[in-house]
């Protein structure tokens, strides 16, 4: 009983200390975190900067019109520690980007992962990168 009470108290303590992830990152309701969009395009710009690395890709819509999508990534040192650098993505490189899109329909989002032409997944938030903080 005493152990159970300690466990409950410990869990309650953990919940008190750790704010829920959904509200922790400071982006509020900007992006739809339950929706994932998969976009095929070519890299048009990489802003390798702190505290948010930005990546832009040109995507052709159904009518053949090019739309530039921008998405935010983690900071430079988090990505660097995972082995990425400012030349990991090159201008003109074909990629598939998986994003949580902006809820207002703007061509913007936050990265879930980037898939290279050979199928390799990089900068994956699912694998430990944390652009949400």
């Amino acid at each position: 009983m005493k152990r159970l009470r300690s466990l409950v108290l410990l869990l309650a303590g953990v919940l008190m200390v750790a704010p829920p992830l959904a509200a922790h990152h400071g982006r509020g309701a900007t992006f739809d975190m339950k929706k994932q969009l998969t976009l095929k395009g070519t890299v048009s710009q990489v802003k390798w900067q702190n505290p948010h690395v930005l990546i832009f890709i040109d995507v052709k819509d159904d009518a053949g019109k090019v739309v530039t999508w921008g998405f935010e990534n983690s900071n430079v040192h988090t990505l660097a520690n995972q082995g990425y650098n400012r030349n990991t993505l090159k201008i003109g490189q074909p990629v598939t980007a998986v994003l949580n899109p902006a809820v207002n329909g703007a061509p913007l989002g936050i990265i879930v992962k980037v898939i290279l032409a050979d199928g390799k997944e990089i900068m994956s938030r699912e694998r430990g990168g944390n652009p949400l903080d």
Partner: protein, 278 residues
Amino acid sequence: MRNRSLISLLATVLVVGASSVAMAQAQFNPRDLSGIWTIRGHRSISANVPPMTPEGEARLSANKPTRGRFLGEPLNGQHPGFVRAVRIPSQGNDPAHQCNPNGFPRLLLDPEPVEFLQAEGRLLQLFQWERTLRELWMDGRAVPAGENLENLGPAWYGHTAGGWEGNTLVLNTVGLDDRAWIDIFGFPKSTAARIEERYTRTGPDTIELRMTMYDPTFYKEPWVSDVKTFTRVKREETTYFGWYGLFSGITEGICAPLNEVDSYNTLVRDPAGKGVGK
């Protein structure tokens, strides 16, 4: 006879083993805090916010954080100050989102690497985030007070001095700029605040920190921290570009307005939040 030899051998092994463990535990100088560390603990001073003065409450309400739980959510036992986040980042007024200094203690509470460098009469804290240096004077001087403090004026990181009490380094910081928040949640501090830090090295790879903030202008009682623990960052985790040994150490986490305000906020944050929640 054989049994006795075996027992002696086992006893020797146990004694040697025990002394190796004791030696391993003792293999640190309790007055050497140098190294690269990250802090663990509550992202504010602690969850136990003391009662605030009316002036303090007013300043808390004026600060609009984007972090913490959203305004309007159930408190679930938390202090209301932790449940105030705005849902659209551009509607917040966190000074750090314009790349203003985090200030003390907010930067210290951030779990980003910080290097402690001990010099003659000083301890230096080099923070990866902001790439800012905090100078903690240990040369016998007292923290400025009275007219001296008034003439110096406040600073983002204040003015810090202290020294060893046994094996605990005790520091006091005064003269803090009240525009910098205490934490990511927007708790305020006044220019009259004094913050005491007590660092105790508890092992080769751990330092414990206890803090207390005395700010009678905004808080009716001292704000006592939880026990925060600094753990040593492994060398390979501080290696720039992920190439072990090529360029290791504290990297540059500068928030420059050219990057954050003119680029991120303008190109992504604000257009992505436009019209949301209306």
